[in-house]
Amino acid sequence: MSGVRLDKIVKSYGSTVAVNDVSLDIKEGEFLTLLGPSGCGKTTTLRLISGFIQPTSGAIHFGNKDVTGIAPQHRQIGMVFQDYALFPHLTVSENISFGLVERRYEKAAIKKRVDELLALIKLKEAADRYPSEISGGQAQRVAVARAVAHPPSVLLMDEPLGALDLKLRETMQAELRRIQQELGITAVYVTHDQSEAMNMSDRIVVMNDGIIEQIGSPRDIYSNPHSVFVANFIGQVNVLECKVSSKKDNITELDYNGQKIRAKQEISLRQGTNIFLAIRPENIKITAKATRNPQNTLKGVVSEALFSGNVMKISVELESGDCIKVECQPKANSFELGSSVHVNWLPEDCSILLN
């Protein structure tokens, strides 16, 4: 087991660049997720780590070992595929032991390891069944067991839960995380589903157009997105275009449509620069009358109000013409369409997007 380091990886196909100058340091035992829309280069990055494709330039290290150019079968990796890719002509236990047989384990050792793994994935009773005779969730667990049977340097997972229904997907997220933690294995997970990434990862790498937009813990990425793309991709967000008016200690004062807005964030931008400010809908309070402390308060009119069970989703059209989304507890005094309201948020609940 080891960490994985990508050094200035570039992968281009003709004139199109699939992965552009990606450097990444994956720590030992870490669960790292590559997140992004389709075509962002996340799967290409995974395939580069697996060795099925070779980078145009750059280097890949597993621990201290340079594995660039080494064939997949010699990289000591485990991989879980979106379609499971279980061998249909082999039973569950034969599937699990596939890598062990290929790596010439002794018979007794194979049997012991397969039994251990069947216990880990809680599928002892299905040992002699064929992949066509087990459910999708079970197949996925078998695929994981097969991938980790010969302890891999790194476990790669390519949208492994994509084919499962929502409920099973949530159970499997917890299950995958548990198996990964129990084995203490380094895992790289690819998904386009931001909630999946948030639920499972130690760190998330948000990718777009072949480059890394941001790397950080789920909490960090959610509350401090660096770019409009990241803010929009992870959860709901309101983005307001503002101008930097002054900086004082760690408070930046912004000008939004003539209104003063304060953000608790240090930036190195000059006064007068146009920036985007991101505010999460759940961090915005909505009131009928102006509060006593009129900080970060904007006036508007309710243009839409949706009740969706645990939250009330309200859209407020501001005086500037921008629309702002607010999520609040559904209380008895709901806001009528067309009523004037005030929205406000705390300086620490908004973040300035640098690009």
């Binding site: 997949p72 991989m79 890719a85 279980l86 249909p88 890598g99």
Partner: protein
């Protein structure tokens, strides 16, 4: 709803049945009367034609040669067809469609033209002989016409297109991700073939091999032209017996032996495969 339309299929079915089964019946029935030559037959039902077939070493040798060249041709065609089918099936570009179209078109070019092509290439002063002579690999020109090797080459030429198309349809059912999975979990390319691709394609090999074998057993043109009268297979023998010796009953009995033996060989092969499959050596 759908059943209503089945009624419309009954008339063509009856016509086909009469034409195929009827003519076969007359033909086969004929084989059970003694052959008196020149198309005349005896009046009593008898097995004398069959007894003659199975006691005459000439017929038995022909029978054996037919099975041998067909089996060799079928096996070699599978070996030759599989790599082509595999490469085309795994091709991601549009070239694959052009190649497949080319295979289909060339497969349906009449066998006479193809065999004459073969004869030109392999003839004593053809390209291959000349090249080999010039390279000093052989001392004198070698003709394939009238040799069993020649017949095998002819049969392979006749069936290779079918085998590629058949195996292509088998290979495309094996998802490439299975190969990736095998490779990533430690299997070399060779082991990927051994443990994944070949076992998964095995049923296709069996069925495809049998189909090609059947085609070879019944192949007339390539066997007749490349056999050159010196290598006889059953279809060629049937033709000669009818056209040159005018022995209809004898020809009918030979043809019936050919038909029954092909059916039996297929049946036994499939039963054997099923046995193997239940012993889990081959997969469904």
């Amino acid at each position: 709803m759908e059943n209503r339309w089945i009624a419309y299929l009954i008339p063509p079915f009856i016509v086909t049945l009469l034409l195929v089964a009827g003519s076969q019946f007359v033909f086969i029935q004929n084989s059970f009367y003694q052959d008196l030559g020149l198309g005349r037959t005896g009046t009593d039902l008898t097995l004398v034609n069959y007894l003659k077939f199975f006691t005459d070493s000439f017929y038995l040798k022909t029978f054996w040669i037919t099975i041998k060249v067909s089996a060799i041709a079928a096996l070699l065609t599978l070996f030759l067809g599989f790599p082509i089918a595999y490469v085309v099936a795994r091709m991601k570009s549009k070239l694959a469609m052009f190649l497949l179209a080319g295979i289909v078109v060339s497969t349906f070019v009449t066998i006479v033209i193809k065999v004459f092509g073969l004869i030109i290439i392999f003839s004593a002063d053809g390209v291959i002989n000349k090249t080999l002579l010039n390279l000093g690999l052989i001392e004198r020109a070698y003709s394939i016409i009238g040799t069993q090797e020649g017949v095998v080459i002819g049969l392979m030429h006749f069936t290779i297109g079918f085998s590629v198309l058949l195996l292509y349809s088998v290979v495309v059912t094996v998802p490439p991700s299975l190969e990736y999975a095998a490779q990533i979990h430690g299997a070399s390319r060779l082991r990927v073939y051994q443990r994944v691709i070949i076992p998964l394609c095995a049923p296709g090999f069996v069925v495809g091999g049998l189909m090609i074998f059947n085609m070879c057993m019944g192949a007339f043109t390539s066997a007749a032209l490349l056999g050159g009268g010196r290598v006889l297979t059953l279809p060629v023998l049937v033709q000669r017996t009818v056209m040159m010796e005018v022995k209809y009953s004898t020809a009918a009995s030979i043809a019936f032996v050919l038909l029954v033996s092909v059916i039996l060989i297929n049946l036994f092969s499939l039963i054997a495969i099923r046995r193997l499959r239940s012993a889990r050596l081959v997969v469904a």
